[in-house]
Amino acid sequence: MKSPTNQSVLPVGKEYWKSLDSLAETPGFRDWVSREFPEGASMLDGVQRRSFVKLMAASFGLAGLGMSGCRRPEHVILPYGKSPEELIPGVPAYYATAQPSGRGFQPLIIESHQGRPTKVEGNPSYLPYGGSTDIYAQASVLDLYDPDRAMGSFKRQSLKNGVNRWQKVSTSTVLDDLTQNYTDGKVAILAPRSHSLVRNSLKDKLASKGFKWFEHDAVDPSLAESKLGDILGVDFGLRAIPKLNSAKRVLSLDCDFLGNRESNELANTRSFMGGRKVLKPSDAKKMNRLYIVESDLSRTGGVADHRLRLEASHISAFAALVAAEILSKSKSSFPNSSSINHLKRLDSGLEKHQKWASEVAADLLTNPKQSVVLAGSHLPKEVQLLAYSMNRALGAIGSTIDYIRTETSAESISSFVDQVEKGNIERLIILGGNPVYQTKGFINWDELSKKLKSICRLGSSIDESSQIAEFHIGQSHYLESWDLGKTWDNTAIVPVQPLLAPLFDTVSESTVLSQLLGDDSDDYSQVKALHKSLSSGTKFEDFLRLGIHPVVPTFAGDVDPTSSLLAIKGKNLIHPSFSSSNLEVLVIPDFHAHDGQYANNGWMQECPDPISKLTWDNALLISPVMAKHLEAKYPDLGLLPKATMLNKNGEIAPDAALFEGGKQKAPVVSLQLGDRSILAPLYVQPGLADFTLVASVGLGRTHTGRVGQGSGYDATPLLSKPGSLVLTGASIEPTGQFKILANVQEHWSMEGRAIVREANADEYAADPSFAAHMGAESHSPPMWGKDQGKSLAEKATSTPRGNSAYEHPDHTYEKSDVFGIHQWGMTIDLNQCTGCSACVVACQSENNIPVVGKDQVLRGREMHWIRLDRYFSSTEREGADIPSDVQVSFQGIACMHCETAPCESVCPVNATVHDEEGLNAMAYNRCVGTRYCANNCPYKVRRFNFFDWNKRDTDSLYQGPLGDKNDTLVDMGKNPDVTVRMRGVMEKCTYCVQRIQESKIRTKVNAQRSAKLSSGEDGAGIKLETKDLKVPDGTIKTACQQVCPSDAIVFGDISDPESEVSKLKNNPRDYSVLGYLNTRPRTTFLAKVRNPNPRMPDFTSSPHSAREYSDRAHPAHHGDDHGTH
């Protein structure tokens, strides 16, 4: 790989690039990809060879001393005194419950092994989510076993040096204290927003007793509904619920409806991506189309067919531009000419986007009632109104979008501060959430707490908000509590039922509230009573079993927006002009921590951000244009990759500026916003609006557990009032310091080949098998020999795995031990993937995949079995310049279970071998850790246990057996059906072999039992056919498949031509990654189809990536002077 990469021939650079460095072909990157594991991955750090040998000698000596290790350890089996009903040891139980959050209750099914919840799945009875879950629900089970939880209640003792010490007290005494002291009428309760009905009923009772209730969230998607209600002049909120399965054209105004910035991500993903399923050429015409105008590059922007980068402050004006077009051309009777003229008069100053806007408007109008406009919840109320008006004019309301009526009763945190100042509030109960962290930008809590007599805190861990409280009450996890609440779209009421009694001395929110009311009834009876009041007609037990009670939401009804439209003042839409010294800051919830509540969750911290691919940190994202400005001003910043330099010996000198030993050095800047400032590391993100900075809240927490401590920077000081997330007038200045960021984006790059294949819908309609004409295998197909023309099922069941030229015995299942009854395979539809990364965490949860920590991620040792590769592609570029307009492609890569697997042939101990059903098996107990297999894997999917991740503290990994052991609490969440791997063994995706085996066993047992029962004899005469023993298609779902909201992943038996996976593999869009290597992967991909509008100014006849590929594959067509390859 070190062959001279002559830069003079490279400026064409038409190829995939995954990060700025690989784009620029810097030597650091070249060096990186030439090694199997990134640099440092296989080095013993800080241990001298000599001392290592000494240590080993000593440990061998010690081992010989005690023969006690040879004794058989005695295990005891502890059966129940009285066995609970329906509990069979070894058979997991499943319970329906829900995860409460500010974004609605998420219906779930929890897998529980002998009372220990281990895995979260979606409840398929709730149809909008179709059994999928989001990434946070997947990770939430880890919070239950977080050793840094508040394991009880505590009394704060302030030490002299300002440090707080926490003395454990029993929760019941704190609750008694509450009933005595917090009932004098001047008590306020501050909580995050919730959709709980239990809370609502208690809230009403509390209000009648004089308790004041305030709510606050740093990032609150429900702000949009109150903004819209407010500007429409009605006394209720209007919550937009898009119904995207009937939408053909979608315009998103900075609305991340497929991501974590808005609610209902799962329903939106499911319905929207469902409209992008193309299985036959005729589907291409039915495909939906997404236009997005956004400042950040969100996951939604990654899916979009047309994307316009625009600062968030300009979006109001842009919305007016589109609205004027739509309202004036709409055939609907609603907009009157005065409102149209009014909108046209609002000088927007966005003339350069006029063409874009009018073409979008025209396209939306050609599909009336099938198009919809969505507005981001952080945008001002004018945008909400304009979006509402456009939807009304398009006839979208009722067909592609519903507005449901919501009540907004709670007061905001600002009025709480006012009332404290006025002396109306003397005592405060902080009920969950973390307001001190989130609001320190506009509330001085130290001052405020002095004006209060006492503060009591209910929280799941001792965090920033606990530091001002007298008492901290430990809050039970939702898997330990009872509750009842509504889903975001208000179509279902779902129960939260506990999977186990609280592990520690903790209580739920409703217990605390009932205590304040002097109510002794427990949470269970409250939930039961509330269910009774629903008068649903179902028994409570049945409700708990199903986990869903469907209800009809209250629709907002038709509200005429005309007068509100006329009231929009032009000055509200005029946008500031930005420059490199006058920047806009967009504050978003962090991918890892959301609003901060997942900051101590190792799975979330280590899951790479889908777009930036950062782990364990957040960064201040800046656009390439802004980066250039900065580089011009501060040439030593090292923000952009430099062109390659040659040293004196003519060797390629590594560019140390950006990557140092594979670690990304990010310059730390000071962000100034008026009198506020924060320090943050910079990260150049293509796709951003030129002068937008994207900051995220949720990290940089000062009081969190061992996992979240020291991760990221804190952007909350920038927030100056509740709900204001777009800030203007910022400037940045380097501090001269650098921060090392753990970025996984350059790990395991596949350079310049047709990895993700894409076409436009028109191209696909004309040539459905376009994917087969790309890549090296288009002229060097995998060698199937004389079986080349056979069907997939035949190839999978009869072609010998060495593909010899000789005649072969019959290898069909009945006549051979070599082929099993099923042949497993998987397809991943690249057209369905939004990059939500829920599969990564689902896999981690299902397969006991350890968390390795930032230090080890920096060495390239992360353990995820499935990774989500994110590729950028762009229009024509100049040399190493970083483009601003990019198309995004995601590709989930896990072990491909190659039929002729390169890893298997190099294993010296047969630890990785093929099984009869086509799985590439990994026998951990055989592995000796040579890592040859990882070296030989072209897909780079094998992961090596460099340390005892599961056993040792991440801080003391290098101390080996002398290091501290992990807290065993985490072990309770491990899946007992999967081996917990030890140090020194290789691992990788198994296609969830534990689920496969369980299903096979269940099928066989059921077949045998039912045959025996029907025969009535001793079973000797039973005759079972092959079909009786086959697992029916769709029974087995891998963890990644089950969690996927858009059903991008399909798993099944490819020897059955009727299975879904077989049908998909016979689709012409199907292709193998690196198929020309003749690895014959069992996981194949369905090529991506984009659906751009030919009339748009940014239309290209092929996706950027396809054009980049063809430029490289057919250089002659390019008309360039870079000669022959």
């Binding site: 058989r72 005695e74 295990h75 005891v76 089996i77 502890l78 059966p79 129940y80 005194g81 009285k82 066995s83 069979i88 040891p89 070894g90 058979v91 299942y813 031990d817 099993g820 009854i821 071998v913 093929h914 099984d915 009869e916 059903e917 799985l919 098996a921 990994m922 026998a923 951990y924 107990n925 055989r926 059906d977 999967v978 081996t979 917990v980 198994t990 072999v993 534990q994 496969i996 085996q997 066993i1001 066989k1004 047992v1005 045998q1008 039992r1009 025996k1012 001793d1018 079973g1019 000797a1020 005469g1021 039973i1022 005759k1023 079972l1024 056919e1025 092959t1026 009786d1028 023993l1029």
Partner: protein, 246 residues
């Protein structure tokens, strides 16, 4: 020049080779005998907290294995019964036997007056529930390593008897480890299941043997009967790693 090495040293290399060979052979033989499951596992017979007599209950009384080990045909584990299973008989039979004290302790727990209801003063830990007592700490005899996922249900339901792995438990007063249960033991049967397959009704009948004519070798008769069952039921035991290692 004088010889540096004395004459006897000529034989040293030969002696060394022979000696090392003998030592090596002894080590190999020793490990083969003493360090394999055949030696380390077979015969393991720990003392149990309750001297439950399998010979009496399973042999003499003829209790079916599944009466106590009720999960064996449903789950991967064959469960050890809870104290309530013992008490279903021993509430009436030998209700006061001192040998059963740990069982009664486990079963009644907080229920001091043994009426099954929460009476005054019984709720010792104040949780409002009548809690069972401490579990009986049965000592585990058969244990597959953590990386082996043996499933009882599939074996029992597909005609593999308990006796194949656990021996004649109905003849053991106190249960001991009877078979060595090494990987070779598993594979022997997975390669040739016909040696062990039997009609489903006879799975828990530990003394069952295939009925033969007088001059037929019972082993051959079993293989013939087994092959028929294998063919009828489509028995193809997994032979690759994924069958047991996950």
């Amino acid at each position: 020049m004088r010889n540096i090495f004395p004459r006897w040293s000529n034989t040293v290399p030969v002696k060394l080779i022979i000696g090392l060979g003998l030592i090596g052979g002894a080590v190999v033989a020793g490990i083969t005998y003493y360090a394999t499951p055949k030696y380390t596992r077979v015969g393991y017979q720990p003392t149990q907290p309750v001297s439950y007599n399998h010979e009496f209950h399973a042999g003499e009384l003829g209790l079916d294995c599944r009466y106590c080990h009720s999960g064996v045909d449903k789950s991967s584990h064959a469960n050890i019964p809870g104290a309530n299973v013992c008490m279903s008989c021993h509430q009436n039979i030998k209700a006061d036997s001192p040998l059963l004290e740990p069982v009664r302790l486990s079963y009644y727990g907080e229920d001091a007056d043994k009426d099954g209801k929460l009476s005054e003063g019984e709720d010792l830990n104040g949780d409002g529930i009548l809690n069972a007592g401490p579990a009986i700490p049965w000592v585990r005899i058969h244990k597959a390593p953590d990386y082996v996922y043996f499933n009882h249900a599939i074996h029992v339901n597909r005609g593999i008897s308990c006796v194949e792995c656990h021996g004649r438990v109905d003849q053991m007063v106190e249960v001991h480890h009877d078979k060595h249960l090494s990987m070779a033991f598993c594979l022997d049967c997975h390669r040739n299941p016909e040696k062990a397959l039997r009609p489903l009704d006879e799975v828990t009948n530990l003394s069952w043997e295939v009925s033969t004519g007088e001059d037929v070798d019972p082993l051959i008769a079993q293989v013939h009967a087994g092959l028929e069952l294998k063919d009828n039921w489509g028995v193809h035991p997994p032979l690759s790693c994924t069958g047991c290692h996950r």
